[in-house]
């Protein structure tokens, strides 16, 4: 596993900042996943139906095919939950930061707040090109580039047994 820059290791403030960011994003993913798992009526269809821009055709294909929609629902519910647990506990976080990035980038691309695109869903903020999905994706990129789970997190034990 790539070592964290020694300057960051020594600077507690930077290290704890990164760990806190990882835990917060993990918490967010985990609850997004679990809230979908425990809601029998949840489906990705509503989000996909409102899709605009380059992926709208793909979104329509997924929604119109019950098998694909089922897979999409399943992947979202479990994917978000597992990425959440991983980030929160610091286990395999080096890889799940990339998976999480993949999720949020897809959410962004399926419904980007670009000029001229109007969405049926009411938004919870005001966005122009940049939205929270894009920011979360970038935050995950940072977490991937500055991994912390081998210092603070369950990955520390794997790391140790590997070095032993």
């Amino acid at each position: 596993m790539k070592k964290l820059n020694s300057a960051i290791l020594e600077n507690r403030c930077q290290l704890y900042g990164l760990v806190t960011l990882r835990a917060l994003i993990g918490w967010h993913f985990l609850y997004e996943g679990i809230s979908k798992l425990i809601n029998p009526y949840w489906s990705s269809a509503a989000y996909l139906l409102d899709s605009k821009w380059v992926f709208s055709g793909l979104a329509k294909t997924i929604v119109s095919n019950p098998t694909l929609l089922g897979i999409s629902d399943y992947v979202n519910m479990w994917g978000l939950t597992l990425v959440g647990v991983s980030l929160l506990l610091g286990i395999f976080s080096r890889y799940t930061t990339l998976v999480g990035m993949g999720f949020v980038i897809l959410y962004y691309l399926f419904a980007p707040p670009l000029l001229g695109l109007e969405y049926g869903r009411p938004g919870e903020g005001s966005y122009l090109i940049v939205n929270k999905n894009l920011i979360e994706a970038c935050a995950l990129w940072v977490l991937h580039s500055f991994p912390t789970s081998h210092i603070i997190g369950l990955d520390r034990f794997f790391n140790q047994s590997a070095s032993n």
Partner: protein, 531 residues
């Protein structure tokens, strides 16, 4: 010695390792504690709300065994827009229709029209007789009778065409007829069919006049045939669910019910297409206008009247028989309100100055003094503003369609009243918030429908296009035809039988009469008269 001195620092290292490795586990624990608290709070809220009070009961399952018991031969009288839909409900569509909708489904994967048709149950019947005064449509019906693209078995043969409905009724092999002519023919055909021993499915409104409704009622009763009026809303799951909630008293005392029609397109105002092949040779105009009070020679106006008959009182009753009838019947289904004591109505032709004589803005009130209830109907054909239907109780309001949908079609929401007596404690403790629905019913919320045109959306919002059985989308028209055929087979009463059909007819005619006479109309149930 050196070993001894190293031990505490190794222990320290292990402990520090352990602490660092598990540092975020307490955060995970905190998450789980909060998740548990949230789930518990939500379930407590839920158990305090209506969803728990309402006994969960799904709509009656579709009984599929009956169709196999006896093959039925049916005839169609009037194969226009509605007639062709009814025949599709029985499982027969023209090749042109199946080709178009299968192509639509190929182009737009969200268009489920073809899939819904093909997954209909095979009702074990044949379309053997056709009567339509327009040659093109009669030929289309014959085409539908033999189209092999249909749910279930292949058709047994091709339908015969009869120029006059009396010839069709004289055919002994026909068991039952669907009457989907303009309203001015309903009573004559239904009465003659009943006397000929044929079971009847008649499209709404039951009749063009009040007197005709009484005659139809008496004949159906005397002959004992199985009669179904074409209010397919009777099959809609949401209406059954709403009925349950109202019956349990969850809305409290209900004193006002508001139902509405909003449309804003020429099509929605009955300015339908005049078929290019319609002419004196292809249309039997004299037979068409035979029962109507005013007669005109065949010409351009006659063509317009033939294809857009709902625009004239000579053939129908305008908003009353076409649209009030649906909403009234839905409320009657949910609340068993029956015929009102008084009705009054006003309106005018305010937008469509195109020669029609039925109003395009029309409002009617119905009084039920014995039930402490007023039913209010308001219609416009020049605004799409979604009003929906509202059942207003002292404790809660149920809203269907309009802005209640929240993205779902043919669902409803129930919202508590801020001054409710029944929910007073829960309102005070904050368990119930009058700003948010306490009960939402949105069937098929996990399924996607491609309902596109404004008129389709109007019907879909009222639950007239699709309903759900065990999560599967079904056309209520199919269920309504099935209900009728099943009732014929087992001798039971269908859901929209002559009793409730009579409620619909009298109520609508009271309002229409009030419009004509400019005064309040009273129902005399003893002498069965409008006074």
């Amino acid at each position: 010695m050196s070993d001894k001195s190293n031990q505490p620092s190794e222990n320290n290292m292990d402990r520090r390792n352990l602490l660092k490795g598990l540092a975020t586990v307490p955060v995970f624990g905190l998450f789980l504690v909060n998740l548990w608290r949230k789930i518990r709070r939500d379930s407590l809220m839920k158990s305090n709300l209506l969803s728990d009070l309402v006994q969960e009961k799904s709509a009656p399952a579709v009984i599929s065994s009956l169709s196999d018991s006896r093959h039925l031969n049916i005839g169609i009288i009037g194969y226009g827009g509605r007639g062709s839909h009814l025949v599709r409900g029985a499982g027969f569509a023209t090749k042109g229709w199946t080709d178009t909708v299968s192509e639509n489904a190929r182009k737009n994967k969200l268009d489920k029209g073809f899939a819904t048709f093909m997954s209909q149950e095979d009702l074990n019947c044949s379309l053997v007789g056709v009567c339509d005064l327009f040659d093109v449509r009669a030929n289309q019906a014959i085409d539908a009778s033999k189209n092999e693209t249909r749910p279930g078995r292949k058709p047994q043969g091709s339908a015969n065409r009869y120029r006059h409905y009396k010839d069709l009724l004289a055919d002994d092999k026909i068991d039952a007829v669907i009457v989907a002519t303009p309203d001015h023919w309903h009573s004559r055909i239904t009465i003659d069919a009943a006397k000929a021993g044929k079971h009847v499915y008649c499209e709404k409104g039951l009749t063009r006049t009040f007197d005709e409704a009484v005659d139809v009622y008496d004949t159906v009763k005397e002959t004992g045939i199985t009669f179904q009026l074409g209010h397919q809303n009777r099959q809609v799951e949401a209406n059954e669910k709403a009925k349950q909630i109202i019956k349990q008293g969850l809305l409290g005392p209900i004193n006002l019910v508001e139902i509405a029609t909003n449309r804003n397109s020429p099509w929605g105002a009955w300015v339908w297409d005049i078929h290019p092949e319609g002419n004196a040779k292809t249309i039997d105009w004299d037979t068409f206008q035979e029962p109507s009070p005013n007669k005109i020679p065949f010409g351009e106006e006659a063509l317009e009247r033939f294809f857009r008959w709902r625009m004239w009182f000579d053939y129908g009753t305008g908003l009353s028989g076409d649209l009030l009838s649906h909403d009234f019947d839905a409320i009657n289904q949910m609340m068993d309100i029956g015929i009102p004591k008084y009705a009054s109505s006003t309106g005018g032709i305010y937008f469509y100055k195109d020669g029609r004589d039925v109003p395009d803005v029309w409002n009617a009130t119905f009084e039920y003094p014995e039930k402490d209830l007023t039913l209010l109907y308001s219609a416009t054909l020049s605004s799409n503003s979604p009003r929906g239907n509202k059942i207003m109780g002292h404790d809660a309001t149920m809203q269907m369609g309009g802005q209640s949908g929240g993205g779902s079609v043919h669902g409803f929401i129930v919202t508590a009243d801020s001054e409710s007596t029944q929910y007073k404690d829960r309102l005070e403790s904050g368990i119930i918030n009058p700003k948010y629905p306490i009960y939402t019913y949105s069937p098929g919320s996990k399924q996607i429908d491609g309902v596109t045109s404004a008129t389709s959306r109007y019907f879909a919002n009222k639950g007239l296009l699709y309903t759900y059985r065990e999560g599967k989308r079904v056309d209520p028209t199919h269920l309504h035809i099935k209900d009728w055929l099943d009732s014929i087979r087992n001798g039971s009463q269908p859901r929209c039988n002559i009793e409730v059909a009579f409620h619909e007819a009298v109520t609508c005619h009271m309002a229409t009469e009030s419009y004509f006479q400019g005064r309040r109309i009273e129902w005399d149930p003893v002498n069965r008269k409008l006074v």
